[in-house]
Amino acid sequence: MYYIGIDIGSVGCKGVLFKNQIVDKKVLPTGWNPQKSGEQTLNYLLEANNLKAKDIKGVVATGYGRVSQRFADKTVTEITCHGKGGYYLNREIRTIIDIGGQDSKVISLNDAGDVIDFVMNDKCAAGTGKFLEMTINSLEEQIDNLDNLVKDDKKAKISSMCAVFAESEIISLLADGVSKSEIAGGIIDSIIDRINILLSKITFQEKVLFTGGLAQSEVIKNELSKKLQTEVFSYSNSQFAGAIGAALISKDML
């Protein structure tokens, strides 16, 4: 009995094939056509595992692109899915920090793994992957290279949370001869400050899981741990938390 969860984010389309445990996973760029990338992810999971559509008992779609998915039996918001998926990755998780491409959110769970509160920043780019992308690009670097970029603890102060203003601030810093490492450290700090504001709106409970595209960065994770004074967890599957949650919900539906 197979189940599939597809999480169509603004940047990446994540898919998980599930049968008692995670059988396979895949991430593809969402691109301009969320519907097509959702289908491609689904088809990849079927073909790579020699499965036919009839072998799949249920498909749940989540993420901002969830509404345009024709193959989905049900759509569920990314908040609920991240809650489920995060709890699946570690039963002791009570707070989830998700930094995605176009929004960031914090989710609070109870002992049973149910979402009891959440706060989202979906109004501007501050504290999102978009902020990181825009600011890192102004250093002529790529997000993938972020961890190599930060060499030490020295950080430039970037006071603007607005992605557009931060970009001009960085240009001034570069003109002053501040190193890329320092600026990158400052960018990360700015994102973490923003996340901290979201966290102050919920009842903070340990343990903390870090998900979303930015969870792939060791540096951000470590800085977050320092700031929150607790170990922030992140797993190789963290990016798939939403898709895992969607697959689990599709299993629970039956």
Binding site: Y64, T77, I79, V115, M120
Partner: protein
């Protein structure tokens, strides 16, 4: 017999005594005076006792905001900007007919906006006390009611007698009670009516100037809906989370909030705000001196502009119980400081009764519909 859906759809065609055309006839054929109002603090009965027609002026569309921003700052509440924009563009048919406008000092933005509005149409501003609990507040407000009475008497060359006030109190109370009987249908579980329909019926009654017609229409709807419901017509699932909506006033542009809840499986059973049941829950005491009774009822309005505002907490707690509410959605208009600050208090108070709560900040644009949908759906999934 009609289905419940048809009962509400048919309401669109029932225009007798309603809307801009009725207003035009009242002015041009019956020579009536018109008093424009914005807020539920305005004592309706004092205006109608001057034989003038009180009417709520347009304030809920995004379309007039650009014009308003030529004179008003951008980071101001959309309701204030929209109201002002309607006035200076002459796009609100009711504003067009208004001889005078009655406003209250409910917030800084409004009272300053009235200074400019006065240049378009005369505005009588009622000074609202900042608290409602002390005797001094009552006396101050009562005096404001008297000042309004005198201004209208002078303006319309008429006398507002006790008899006229008593008569108008009775008529307006009947409308409140009739509306209450209607919206309380939603106490049934599952609710026979959608939140958008509750809004529609209250709004329809407000803009039907002949209250006799308005009440007959509302009563007929209540009867018909209840009959269909008892015959087994259940449109809303018993599992649908029952939502109370509170916060700032709602209208055309912000119906997106009710729609986002109901399109995603929720059932809005109670609209606590000023455009919902807030002005109708308490009637004017018919056994007291009319001016006293009017001052008392209106001052009791549980608005966030009052400090402290325990009335609102009490009202929400009572409604949560009476309507078997599963979750509360607090809608804040951008830059509405008092409702925004009060979100923490409401959240904390609701925690006591384990009632899940979410506040959402929005404006009159439709650009956040997607985000609103996600937030509210996630909230519903949480319940």
């Amino acid at each position: 017999m009609k289905s419940i859906e048809e009962i509400f759809n048919n309401l669109d065609g029932e225009l007798k005594g309603h809307g801009p055309v009725a207003m035009k006839n009242l002015v041009e054929k019956e020579g009536k005076n018109v008093v424009g109002t914005y807020c539920v603090f305005t004592p309706y009965e004092v205006i109608s006792a001057a034989d003038a027609v009180p009417v709520t002026l347009c304030s809920t569309s995004n379309d007039t905001i650009d014009e308003a921003e030529k004179d008003l700052p951008r980071n101001l509440c959309p309701l204030i900007k929209s109201s002002y924009g309607f006035a200076i563009t002459d796009k609100c048919p009711y504003f067009h007919f208004a001889d005078i406008i009655v406003g209250e000092t409910t917030c800084d933005g409004k009272k300053k906006m009235y200074e400019y509005l006065d240049e378009v149409t005369p505005v009588h501003v009622m000074q609202l006390p900042q608290s409602s609990q002390r005797e001094a507040d009552f006396n101050f407000w009562k005096n404001e009611v008297v000042l309004l009475k005198e201004r209208l008497e002078e303006k319309f060359k008429t006398e507002i007698t006790e008899e006229r006030l008593e008569k108008e109190i009775k008529i307006k109370n009947e409308e409140r009670n009739t509306l209450k009987e209607f919206y309380e249908l939603a106490k049934l579980n599952p609710s026979p009516i959608y939140g958008t329909e509750i809004f529609k019926v209250i709004n329809r009654s407000n803009y039907t100037f002949d209250k006799e017609i308005a009440n007959q229409r509302t009563m007929k709807i209540t009867e018909e809906v209840l009959a269909k419901y008892n015959q087994g017509e259940k449109r809303i699932s018993k599992d649908a989370p029952r939502i109370l909506v509170t916060g700032c006033p709602m209208g055309a542009a912000t119906l997106k909030v009710i729609e986002a809840i109901e399109n995603n499986g929720g059932s809005v059973v109670c609209l606590e705000n000023c455009t919902g049941l807030k002005p109708n829950e308490e009637t004017v005491d018919q056994d007291k001196n009319p001016i006293d009774a009017i001052a008392e009822k209106y001052l009791n309005t549980p608005c966030s502009c009052m400090s402290p505002n325990d009335n609102r907490v009490e009202l929400i707690n009572r409604l949560v119980e009476e309507y078997q509410v599963d979750g509360v959605v607090d809608m804040i208009l951008q830059a509405c400081h008092t409702y925004n600050v009060e979100t923490k208090r409401i959240k904390d108070e609701l925690k006591e009764s384990n009632t899940p709560y979410i506040n959402i900040e929005t404006d009159y644009s439709q650009s956040d519909k997607g985000q609103l949908g996600t937030r509210l759906t996630a909230f519903l999934e949480m319940l």
